[in-house]
């Protein structure tokens, strides 16, 4: 077993799992009479082998209809939602699970988990083989030169060839482990979370496909190969955000996520072009080797363009607006894709091409400013959200900005260190939040409270997660934040950034520490402490939330990943122990505790009220994330749609109109000519005589 066999295997295994899950899960599991799906009058509910719908189902469907109407978020044909919802109980995810469904789901679960486990083992083996060099690099603050990639083939395109190569160096292998481990945890967790969901097979297959794509990004040795994985991740993100597509709101969130990230990806692709053309190769090692020879202009252009892709994928300002909406997807997806792995890919790619970024100082300045604005702004937005998942989403943006800050400050190791610890504790937080949501049936914290008695395990583990997020010792987040802060502080003195940017970055980072402590505490208090609110236990919660109401803790398949993730969230920081800067640590902990203390004090004064009220008039703008969404709608979406209408009109009136008019004018001209052909013999004879006369005169005159 050598790396050049293992490497492709790690990537291909989840891919095959996805293919198998999509194609084979349902094979032969339809126990209903053949044709049910095609011939039942309801047409839709029957698709997944539903038996006769029960009365409560009908009522539920009606309820959903009202809900859909009440949300009023359908712009196409408003008012018909209610009608649509009642149609044949199309909400088949709520149908009682049939035997066939259950069998399909079981099979899909095996298809998902076994390859994921195998990939995890292989990724661990790769990391072991590599010697876990990354852990040693935290000390000396330089990432080792990328290892020589293993090439599996070259595609001649007539221009720069695309080399199908993979590489396993210190950076890749550690991220490979993170990805496979979180993916495995999420796959196991999803078995419980989506137990009776009729679409679980496709869901788990998409998660497998995502795992494969992300591993391709991590291990890619060629920028275009990396881009393939990069985009496929985006597709999986789209598909999984839209998992509950019955609600068009989810569908729109998925579209938004895909388009906003793709906007960045266009820049990303052009950045790859610039680098590839300058280095005459798309291989990462070749590009990095040529960086010293490239002109500053080229490097700035390339890195700025790459930065667009980074901002899109890693949800950085100004392309971050898709991430909070992406919480419409199932919670395990939010944990895997929108917290731990995919959104970190942007940070990864900067670290991967860090030598190029280091040579492009303007890019680092831009990155610093974006990171500074992003971390503080989204932390403030997190403080005002009522939706638990949106709190975590804004927190993710904020923490990603923290990593970006480390990169801007010139320390890729600190960024990656925080990326890994964040991957662990944010996945933990999301999965724990999933347990809470699964239990309560809603996302809103205003309807939670006092859950510590009902969910003791979740209470503790989520507490660990929040502690890590705040950066309290001895959790992992404490150490990684410390290294990031240290890097940012050093950037002020080292002068790698322009002074203003460095000061702004440092100030925002410190302020963010306070706000992070505040919003984490608020979320934790409002979820687990205080007076238990009557659990609403809607029979039919809106899509985006789990629908099983259970009075006990979640099933073991959900609790186990949560507990297991709590361990790394607690311990992953230890490699940074020897690296700790005490002054920075004291400052950061003091600031974080300040935020915690303020919120706790406000909360104690009235445990039933939302501590976010302390924001005062600032609260609504924070809740609306500073109205960026609306601004974008006015600035970009509407003009494009107006242009589309204009083009459609122009096309039929002007472009095609010209064609039709030319046709008509030909017909008209022929109509004129026809006047001569009127059947009047006298006219014809006169014409002939006139012609003869003309010719005769002409012949006489010109000869």
């Amino acid at each position: 077993m050598t790396p050049n066999v293992i490497l492709p295997l790690v990537i291909v295994l989840p891919f095959l799992a996805a293919a198998a899950g999509l194609l084979l899960s349902r094979l032969g599991t339809r126990e209903t009479a053949p044709g049910t799906s095609g011939t039942s009058a309801s047409g839709s509910g029957a698709v997944h082998g539903k038996k006769a719908p029960s009365l409560s189902m009908g009522g539920a469907a009606l309820g959903r209809g009202e809900d859909a109407l009440g949300r009023g978020d359908d712009t196409l044909t408003r008012g018909e939602d209610a009608l649509g919802a009642t149609h044949g109980g199309a909400v088949h995810r709520d149908t009682p699970a049939t035997e066939g469904n259950r069998r399909a789901n079981n099979r899909a679960a095996w298809f998902a988990i076994i390859p994921a486990a195998a990939a995890t083992i292989l990724a661990l083996w790769l990391a072991w083989e590599e010697g876990l060099t990354f852990l040693g690099q935290i000390e000396n603050d330089t990432l080792a030169r990328a290892a020589d990639p293993i090439t599996y083939g070259t595609i001649e395109t007539g221009a720069i060839p695309i080399s199908l190569s993979l590489q396993a160096d210190g950076l890749s292998v550690i991220l490979g482990v993170l990805v496979t481990l979180v993916a495995l945890a999420v796959q196991v967790y999803s078995v419980g979370y989506l137990k009776d969901d009729a679409r679980y097979p496709s869901y788990s297959a998409f998660v497998s496909l995502f795992t494969s794509a992300m591993l391709l990004v991590v291990y890619a040795g060629d920028l275009l190969v990396l881009y393939v994985g990069w985009e496929v991740m985006g597709l999986c993100s789209y598909l999984l955000i839209g998992h509950w597509w019955e609600d068009l709101g989810n569908s729109r969130a998925a579209i938004k996520a895909f388009l906003v990230t793709r906007l960045g990806d266009v820049g990303f692709l052009f950045g790859i072009f610039v680098l590839g053309a300058a280095a005459d190769s798309f291989r990462i090692v070749d590009v990095l080797a040529k960086v010293p020879e490239m002109s500053t202009g080229t490097l700035v252009a390339a890195t700025m363009l790459l930065l667009a892709g980074v901002a899109g994928k890693s949800a950085q300002v100004p392309l971050h607006t898709w991430l909070p909406d992406a919480m419409a997807g199932p919670t395990p997806i939010s944990a895997l894709i929108h917290a731990a792995t995919m959104v970190a890919a942007g940070i990864f790619i900067v670290a991967r091409l860090f030598p190029a970024f280091l040579q492009a100082q303007p890019t680092l300045d831009v990155l610093a400013v974006l990171a500074a604005l992003g971390m503080l702004g989204s932390a403030l937005a997190a403080l005002a959200q009522d939706d638990l998942k949106r709190v975590l989403a804004y927190s993710t943006i904020s923490q990603l900005a923290f990593m970006a800050a480390a990169l801007a400050a010139g320390s890729s190791t600190a960024a990656i260190f925080h990326l890994i610890t964040h991957g662990a504790f944010k996945a933990l937080l999301f999965l724990a939040a999933g347990v809470v949501i699964h239990h309560v049936g809603v996302n809103y914290m205003s309807q939670m409270g006092g859950l510590r008695r009902e969910l003791p395990v979740t209470f503790v583990t989520m507490g660990v997660g929040f502690a890590a997020l705040i950066g309290l010792p001895p959790t992992s987040g404490f150490f990684s934040k410390d290294s990031v802060l240290l890097a940012v502080e050093q950037a002020m003195t080292e002068g790698r950034l322009t002074d203003a940017a460095a000061v702004l970055l440092y100030g925002c980072a410190l302020a963010t520490l306070v706000v992070t402590g505040a919003y984490s505490t608020r979320a934790w208090l409002r979820t687990f402490l205080g007076r238990p609110r009557a659990v609403i236990a809607l029979p039919e919660p809106p899509p985006g939330t789990a629908h099983v109401i259970d009075v006990r803790e979640a099933p073991l398949s959900m609790l186990l990943p949560v507990i297991l993730l709590a361990v790394p969230a607690m311990l992953l920081g230890l490699p940074g122990l020897g690296h700790l800067d005490v002054t920075v640590a004291v400052i950061s902990v003091a600031l974080a505790l300040l935020g915690v203390g303020i919120v706790y004090a406000v909360w104690r004064s009235d445990p039933a009220a939302d501590p976010a009220r302390m924001l005062g008039p600032f609260r609504v703008p924070c809740e609306q994330a500073f109205y960026l969404d609306r601004a974008y709608a006015v600035l970009f979406v509407r003009p494009v749609l107006a242009m589309a209408r204009l083009v459609a009109r122009t096309d039929s009136r002007v472009v095609d109109g010209a064609v039709r008019e030319s046709g008509r004018s030909v017909v008209g001209a022929s109509g004129l000519l026809r006047l001569a052909q009127n059947g009047n013999v006298q006219l014809y004879v006169s014409g002939v005589l006139a012609g003869v006369l003309l010719i005769a005169v002409g012949a006489v005159m010109f000869t």
């Binding site: 006769a52 469907a61 649509g84 009642t86 001649e156 789209y238 579209i255 388009l259």
Partner: protein
């Protein structure tokens, strides 16, 4: 082995000629006949691909060169190289798949045209076979005039496919198609004759090797413009594209598939094969314009798609955008750009062919391709069909890992580094605009998917649902009407589940909203449309004025028309005995016909080398770059 190209043309031709004998008119025979003939052609194409010498992909192989009309110096000159081989195989494959789609199963399913007599199956098979002769011949021809002959042969059968088996407005669309493309052909012919007059030969191989030698720059530019306009109409390039949406909207499924999958490629193939290598100086002069028009097409097509309501029209406009990428690649005059164009051609053939297949399937089920009438929730009603549609859309929007990506990516990259002598800043600007066009492409496909496949089903007109399920929309609509809709739905679920009736009571109440929709098309007999047509095409009155007693039964959405005479009245569901209104999901004949396209889309996406290894050397030789 030089018999292979001849056989590729001869087999469908003989197959078509044999259909003239009355012995072949037996229905049972007809059902397998087209399948066998095109299957044999496909086998020949596969043999061609297998025995092709890939080490010498740049040189024409299996060449046959006979004098045809010595007085005109016309040669019967056929052969394949790396550029034409993929297109020949694609053509044979798509035609075969069209026949699979038509002939598999009992051929009475919605969307299939080989129904008994009214469907004119013999004529359809004949037409499609002649079409295949023209398409394959175009890609095989190595003589300019022979190329033009095949190029023109294609037009006539396609005209009939649209005009006879098309939708309600088929005659106008077919007329526009043929006039527009014939106009282009005239200009093309003039250009070809100019080349012949100047260079003294019609041999495409020799002309390409001469690299424009012997032709003055002015002549080259003139010839390039003439040839280019001819091909641009076919491609179609903005602003010469307006025949395409109409033709696609009205054409039957197989017509749309072949039109998008093969016919459009003939335009770009012509540019790559004839215009650029034979007239290099002309190409260099015109290339910036070509690129600009291509890029405008990308943006324009994408924006037009965003505003479309009709699914087939949307796909047609998306073709304009995709062809814009092809033109951009060609305009760079680099091997990479040409390669991109050829790859994008093949990918577009596979993906858009699939898209039109799916759109045809949707139209035949719902009775309409109008997105507002389709409603939504297709993934709930027809999960597999919805999944295939989604897949095709992802492929079409250029997702890496699927075939659509490589051509677009390479076209953009070649615009980043255009050939020497071309204005680089301009082409970089083209690249940026093209990239934004790719973003818009994603936007309209995703919005379309959201409208059609997501959400809850049931927004569409109930009549369309009933009709689609009955196998023939319009008839059922006529049987029902607004009142009948209520009846049919109310009694539709014989199992009589309680919840079902709860659901449906709501629905019937709601159907008041729809009564307008339902009554509109069903209640308004078509004569309005013929009246318009009479005005435009006075000569065609005899055909249109065939009045049937069931004229009123027709709706403007269905396939029913004079020629098919629809499903006979016996097949219409009795109002008392309601047809089961649910729609069938993926049918076997659809699965069989679509699977190869899906597989190839994934295969070329994951392993683009398969195609690049064939085209790269040929492209380099064509542009005179050392191979």
């Amino acid at each position: 082995m030089s018999w292979l190209p001849v056989a590729l043309v001869a087999v469908p031709l003989l197959g078509a000629l044999a259909l003239l004998s009355p012995a072949t008119s037996r229905r049972g025979l007809l059902r397998v006949y087209g399948l066998v003939v095109t299957g044999a052609t496909l086998v020949l194409a596969v043999i061609l691909a297998v025995s092709f010498d890939y080490a010498n992909a740049a040189t024409p192989q299996f060449v046959i060169d006979r004098e045809w009309a010595p007085g005109l110096a016309l040669h019967f000159h056929l052969g394949v190289d790396g550029i034409s081989l993929p297109l020949v195989v694609l053509t044979a494959l798509l035609t075969f798949l069209c026949f699979l789609y038509l002939c598999w199963g009992d051929a009475r399913q919605p969307g299939q045209l080989l129904r008994p007599e009214p469907g004119r199956p013999r004529a359809l098979i004949f037409t499609l076979l002649v079409l295949e002769v023209g398409m394959i011949g175009t890609f095989l021809a190595l003589d300019l005039l022979l190329f033009f002959v095949f190029f023109e042969i294609v037009l006539i059968p396609m005209y009939f496919v649209i005009a006879v088996w098309g939708g309600a407005d088929r005659r106008a669309a077919a007329l526009k198609f043929i006039l527009y493309t014939l106009l282009g052909s005239v200009v093309l012919l003039l250009g070809l004759l100019l080349i012949w007059a100047q260079a003294g030969t019609l041999d495409m191989v020799a002309l390409a090797q001469a690299q424009g030698g012997g032709m003055a720059r002015g002549i080259q530019v003139l010839a390039f413009v003439a040839v280019g306009v001819g091909f641009a109409v076919k491609t179609p390039m903005w602003p010469l594209h307006t025949w395409l949406p109409d033709a696609h909207t009205e054409a039957p499924t197989v017509g749309s598939v072949l039109l998008a999958g093969v016919l459009l490629k003939m335009g770009t193939y012509g540019i790559a094969r004839i215009a650029i290598p034979i007239l290099p100086e002309g190409a260099a002069a015109v290339a910036p314009w070509l690129g600009a028009l291509g890029v405008v097409g990308i943006i324009y097509g994408a924006l037009a798609c965003l505003a479309q309501r009709d699914l087939k029209r949307l796909i047609a406009y998306s073709s304009i955008g995709h062809m814009g990428f092809v033109l951009l690649g060609l305009a760079t005059l680099t091997p990479a750009g040409m390669n991109a164009a050829l790859f994008a051609n093949i990918a577009h053939g596979l993906i858009t062919g699939l898209l039109f297949f799916v759109a045809g399937g949707i139209k035949s089920r719902y009775g309409t391709a109008d997105m507002t009438q389709l409603g939504g929730g297709m993934l709930a009603v027809l999960p597999h069909l919805g999944a295939v549609l989604s897949f095709a859309c992802f492929a079409s929007l250029g997702l890496p890992g699927l075939a659509g990506f490589w051509g677009e990516m390479l076209a953009l990259f070649s615009a980043f580094e255009p050939a020497a002598g071309l204005p680089r800043p301009l082409f970089v600007a083209f690249m940026v605009i093209g990239g934004l066009g790719a973003l818009l492409t994603a936007a309209y496909f995703l919005v379309m998917l959201s409208r059609v496949t997501h959400g809850l089903p049931g927004r569409r007109s109930e009549a369309a649902l009933v009709g689609g399920g009955a196998g023939h929309g319009p008839v059922a609509v006529a049987a029902g009407g607004a009142v009948g809709t209520g009846e049919v739905t109310a009694s539709a679920d014989p199992s009589g589940a309680v919840a079902g009736s709860v659901d449906y009571s709501g629905e019937v109440a709601g159907s008041a909203d729809y009564s307008g929709v339902v009554a509109g098309p069903a209640g308004t007999p078509l004569p309005v449309a013929p009246a318009v047509r009479h005005e435009e095409f006075p000569d065609e009155r005899p055909i249109d004025s065939v009045e049937h007693s069931w004229e009123e039964d027709r709706s403007e959405w269905g396939y029913s028309d004079d020629w098919l005479e629809g499903e006979s009245a016996e097949e219409a569901p009795e109002p008392d005995e309601p047809a089961v209104p649910a729609m069938p999901d993926l049918r076997p004949y659809e699965l069989v016909a679509w699977t190869p396209l899906i597989v190839l889309t994934i295969l070329f996406g994951l392993w683009p080398k398969l195609l690049f290894s064939v085209t790269t050397p040929a492209v380099q030789a064509l542009l005179g770059v050392g191979s």
